[in-house]
Structures are given as C-alpha cells and as structure tokens.
Symmetry: C2
DNA sequence: ATAACTAGTGCAACAGAAGTGCATTTATTG
DNA sequence: CAATAAATGCACTTCTGTTGCACTAGTTAT
C-alpha cells in the first residue's frame, strides 16, 4: 500500500485507480488546478468522474477549493498547515495576472479583519493579484 | 437635466432611458446586484441590453464589479470613497451566508498584505463571509 | 432639413462551467 | 457465490456570460 493510498484512506476515500492518479497529478503540480486542467491531463477519462473525484476530495478535506476571481474553481491539496476544516485562519492565495496561475501562499495567513457592529465574520477569502515570482523574473 | 443624467454624462455615458432606470435601481438597492437581479426587476427589458449597460457602467467607472465567491458577478455603484480606478486601496466586501446578500463596506479598507519575495501585488480581493447586521438580529 | 454617421437596442445563437439522473461496472461484505 | 454498496460512464440540462448581426434612435456635418 503506497503513501497516497494511505492518505486517501485516512480521509475515508477509497483509493481507486483514478483517484490515485488525480491525487498524484495534484501533488506534482505546485499550483491550483481547475477541472479543465485535469481533463486535459487525463483526456481519456470521463469528465464526470474527474468532477466527482474533486468533489469527493473537497468534501473529505483532501483538497480545498480556491476562488481566485477568474470565475473558474481551482483546487489544491491541503497541507498540514491548511486549517480549512476549521473554515478559518486560512492562508491566502496569489493569482498571477501574467501566467494566469494561482498558488497557495500557505505560509501567509490572513490578517484579522474588522467588520462593522452587527456583522459576524465567519471566514475570509483573500486573493492577491499581481505578478508571480516566476513571471517577475526574480 | 436630472442628477442621474449629469452623473452619467460626467462618466461619458449617454443617459438613455434604460440606463437611467438601471442607475436608479442600483442607487436604491443598498446591496450589490447581479445581472439576474436586474433582469427580474426589469422583466420587459432585454437581457443583453442590461448586460451591456452593466459592462458600460463598469468600464466607465460608474459601478465596480464584485466577486463575492458565489460564482456570480455582482455590481455596485461606485461612491466617492471608491478608488476602483486605481485598482488599489479598495474597500472590502461582506457576503452574508444567511440572506445571501453582498454589501460594500466602503469604510473598511483592505489592510496591507505581505507577499513573498519575487511576487508583486497589484491588487487585492477581500471578501468576508458571515452573518450580516440584518440577519444577526442586531 | 436632410444625409451620413455613430451609438444603442433587440433577437438569436453560442460557449463554458457546473451539475443531475440513470444504467452499468467494479468492489466489498456476509 | 450472492447481495449490497460504491464508483464510473454517458447523456442531458441549467445557468451565466458573451458575441454577431440587423435594426432603430440619436448625433453631426453639409
Ligand atoms: Mn490554498
Ligand atoms: Mn464595493
Ligand atoms: Zn505568473
Ligand atoms: Zn444577511
């Protein structure tokens, strides 16, 4: 039993062939991926299967969904530092306006945000847009 | 010539009947509205016209687009405190998980966000989710 | 005022992403 | 092995956003 299989089972997800492949794909990519990315990577696989795999992964906290403002949902593997179960204290995300890639800045936590009286903050989505390290030439 | 007509012309937008109506609608609403909201409010009008009106308003800085994480673009009138032309120093937005409404918190500016070396921050989207003042009972 | 031009609108059609229902296959368990 | 549950494949739908094109209204030059 491989590491990946163990990880999946730890999250109550049965390690099917497709799921292992998708997990591997997500692990190799260092950026957040959209369903269409996975579709292109696994051209022979069914879209629905890929879609439902992502949904399962999300539900079981294997990945977290990222709304980077492009209108397309992206997903990235949760790491140890990823408290997305708590739905709070999340890291921020960076979207590059040049290469169009979105990355998790897991080391960068979202600061405390004040809201007006009467408003109750439950969680915060923060996306920084600009030029990523690869594109800034440095 | 009414106030609204003046405002539109100040932004180089010709004040047609439809545009005045939509502007009024946006001004009366205190929340961010989606295209579908406007569609329901003006059932007799063409969807495309409403769509293009919003796009024109956005381009001419009469409204700003809001990505509240629902996957549906919302729009709200720009106010004097709305520096959306500069694409920086923007106010934050609040999305209520209960009533599903999104409001501009124009008084609440987005704090300075640090990004890692090599990354260049151009602008920031910050959406707080939780319970709004109307729904929190206070 | 009329002609020429430009901007706005209405209608139809399209694209992309997301989601659902159902039959079929695969895996698990008694 | 039989019964059951989970996963997959296929088809189809919905929703949002977007574009092309013809027509109309409004603006400007002669
Ligand atoms: Mn992330
Ligand atoms: Mn706003
Ligand atoms: Zn980049
Ligand atoms: Zn509310």
């Amino acid at each position: 039993m491989t590491e990946i299989e163990k990880t999946l089972e730890n999250h109550q997800v049965r390690p099917t062939a497709m799921r292992i492949l998708i997990y591997k794909y997500l692990a190799e990519k260092e950026i957040a991926v959209a369903l269409t990315d996975i579709e292109s990577a696994f051209a022979k696989a069914e879209r629905t299967t890929l879609y439902r795999t992502l949904k399962t992964f999300e539900e079981k906290k294997i990945v977290h969904q990222i709304d980077d403002g492009t209108g397309i949902s992206k997903y990235a593997l949760c790491e140890s530092g990823c408290n997305c179960e708590i739905d709070q204290d999340l890291h921020l995300h960076f979207h590059c306006n040049n290469c169009n890639e979105t990355v998790c800045l897991t080391e960068h936590k979202i600061p405390q945000i004040k809201v007006p009286d009467g408003f109750v903050s439950e969680n915060v989505n923060l996306v920084v847009k600009g030029i990523c390290d690869k594109c800034s030439g440095q």
